[in-house]
Amino acid sequence: MADTVVEVRDLYYSYNSQLVLRGINLEIKKGEIVAIMGENGAGKTTLIKHFNGLLKPKRGIVEVFGVDTREASVAELSRKVGLVFQNPDHQLFAETVEKEVEFALRNFGFEEETIKKRVDWALNLMGLARYRHRSPFTLSIGERKRLAIASILCYDPELIIFDEPTAGQDFLQKERIAELLNLLRTRGKTVVVVTHDVEFVVTRFKRVIVMSRGEIIGDGDIRDVLSNPEILKKAKLVPPQIVKCAWLLSDLGVPKNIIYPEELIEKIKSILGAPYG
């Protein structure tokens, strides 16, 4: 399929003798913004490392933009696939913020003028322009995380993967990341976000994939997946607050798959009738 960005068929992967991915099947289409959730050790990071060829399947097939990842190098895939690691320190190494962002652009052989433009754009976008001459290691952890994002976005990959972008971030930074997702959405990018943050997913995503013990146990619309008690329990996820409210109010006729505040408000209004004065 022309508009398929990632296709995974019957993927198995093991570290030493431990099986961490067991028969993964999934397809991500161009322009989709997908969340991947599951407890620590479920295999989320192992799975996304297959999307840019850092890991190759032990069994099964991973195709990214129609290319079998076993037949392409990480360098070739990286041009179209950007992976932002959970820990920015695994990714940052240059002397200055500016050089950090330039690095990939130079590697890919962009013209000097383009490099300058792209660096400015990415630093402004992530609110880092005033730090351009500082060493990355003098930045706070939140700022380093944003720098890691800038150094991927600058070369404009088609598929962007974020591993835990909201972990340890405050409310305002989370809002910024949400804005960034919107921006990428309008540019037609395909985005995969690994996250534990169920409230973030429920407000910002349409599709979620839930993993547990190396398998996908839920994949679909957030309404169906994040209000399914069996999936949540198996993946040790806490239900979103609105879903929890709906469950607790189900004896009054509230459907158990309500996920948005406005839906809950409508249901409560119809239970209570017009407000007393």
């Binding site: 340890g168 996820l237 609105i242 409210c245 239970i271 209570l272």
Partner: protein, 287 residues
Amino acid sequence: MTIVEIKNLTFTYKGNDEPSLLDINVEIREGEFVLITGPSGCGKSTFCRLLNGLIPHFYSGELKGEVRVLGMDVRKTPTYELARYVGMVFQDPENQLFLSSVEKEIAFGLENLGLPPSEIRERVEQVIAYMGLENLRDKAPFELSGGQQQKVAIASVLAMQPKILVLDEPTANLDPYSSLELLDIVTRLNREEKITVILVEHRLEALLDKVSRLILMDKGRIVLDEHPREAVLNPKIKIVGVPKVIEVYERLKKIGYNFNNPPLSPEDLSNMVHEMVDLHGRHSRRS
């Protein structure tokens, strides 16, 4: 009894122009469960460092005002003395754990205190049982998951039998289930063992119904210091984002529904609605 007393405190890290804490006045009483929240860089972590004397003993800078912990002036009290009363747990447990087994890790602080071996053994056993670490006692901390490591970090602090437990974003690197488990343990320590808890955290939804007090910081200042039920209604809280149940409450209130207190959890919200149905009946059925 007042356990922490801070008066007119301003602190500026050496080399910085701007103070990281500005004109802080706060009194914390024994047995309180205090949530400290605020945007990144608001001074939360700096505040924590005051309580066990890391400021001014390890982080130098200009300290004005007064900090007393259990009546001791932190400036005049060595940190090892404060460590007997104030237990600290950080975001990243790996920085705190370095020995070859969980048991040794828990015993380490006690050995430093020079306690007799029999007492050390007794306290280690107590803490292992309390925290449910029996199966992990011989493991090396680096073999453990993040959630387990954080439990060990708390255990090694608890063994010192502290009066105050200070936790600086302890769940930032944990998955949701491990986070809840950890926060439940902390709540139990506060309620059952009467340990005063001061906890820094970004996510309010997991904590509002547990804490007795919410302190909101912004740009080095305390801008809000109230019971969570009042704090969540103050417009200032918007800088850290309010949980969805509060949003639902506020929107219902705006269109005329008269609930008394804001809900701090989905359970609260459900109870509110059920109570109102019991009181007035179900209007949709009647009309």
